[in-house]
Point group: C2
Chain length 198, copies 2
């Protein structure tokens, strides 16, 4: 028998605000029980529809800074005076247990994670159109114009990612990401081959 296995890896998903990243990640996790969703820590206030320990781990600034000192983050950043970070331990724990780790993080975070975990896969999500992006941000962000301008600038970041997926229809985008992950599992670099002779 030729037995095959593959080295587990992280999948980093980024994209401008309003491209539907979060929904995409939720759907990915629902459909695959060999995926683990990396939940970030943040010091920003919990929004009404968010659940602590599901959307984020909401912690205090003191606690966050303590964890920084203890080297507990794979990456972290301060954005609009609030901290955001990826806890290190669950990532390595789940890779070890055979999971593929999905991360919904921004460009800065991606750069740091890709530097540390060179075999990670990065996917950039783009909106189907600028008009659609505008509509989506308008619907949910308070300081709309500021966020929209930012999102416009962020579009060009696709150039730094391994793959680019356009979120025109959510199911199609999820399907494309699944195909990317399936193909990545078959990459020679990740392959562990064992010949078991009878």
């Amino acid at each position: 028998m030729i037995k095959r296995d593959f080295k587990r890896f992280c999948v980093i998903i980024s994209g401008p605000t309003g491209t539907g990243k979060t929904t995409i990640c939720k759907k990915l996790i629902e459909k695959n029980n060999d995926f683990f969703y990396s939940i970030s820590c943040t010091t920003r206030k919990k929004r009404e529809n968010e659940i602590d320990g599901k959307d984020y781990y909401f912690i205090t600034k003191e606690e966050f800074e303590k964890r920084i000192k203890e080297d507990k983050f794979l990456e972290y950043a301060k954005i609009y005076n609030e901290y955001y970070g990826t806890p290190k331990e669950p990532v390595f724990e789940n890779l070890k247990n055979g999971k593929i780790v999905i991360m919904d993080i921004d460009y800065q975070g991606k750069m740091k994670v890709a530097e540390k975990l060179k075999d990670s896969v990065s996917i950039y999500i783009l909106p189907p159109s600028i008009e659609e992006l505008k509509r989506r941000i308008e619907k949910r962000e308070k300081n709309f114009m500021e966020r929209f301008k930012e999102a416009l600038k962020e579009i060009d970041l696709w150039i730094s990612y391994d793959y680019v997926v356009i979120n025109d229809e959510i199911e199609k985008a999820v399907d494309e990401i699944n195909k990317i992950i399936e193909a990545e599992k078959l990459k020679r670099e990740r392959l562990i081959l064992e010949r078991i002779e009878k």
Copy 2:
């Protein structure tokens, strides 16, 4: 609108004799009309079940050598005193016409094509077991032991390919190759993005 397209590419499929490469390629082509199968030229004798212009272009040694001089091959080699080669023109013609070009060629051919077409994708097909490989070669090859020893040596060539697929069930192998190609279409390097503003 954000319009996307991708740069067309070649998919090189190799594997030891008896791994089912040819059947896999046939099924790939049947299912996808944006794939073009690159038919090789050879000077070896046509087997009974083979069709000229479908399995190979069967040509004379004189004709083959004339085409070598005219630089008509993307790659060619002499194996057991017979020539095998990939005609250059259909490959570039079909890439230009929006097709993905599928090539069933050996390791030597792969090295030459990958050198010339750096964005090509290479996939190595492995048998599910050594016993199965032996059975398959036994069924169809005359100088069985010689071919089997050769196939055994060829197994280790997977290390030079981008992806490795084990042909345990043919439909599963074809499905995996399709996923690889779908994912490759989404690679940033192949991406052609156009913003079309209203």
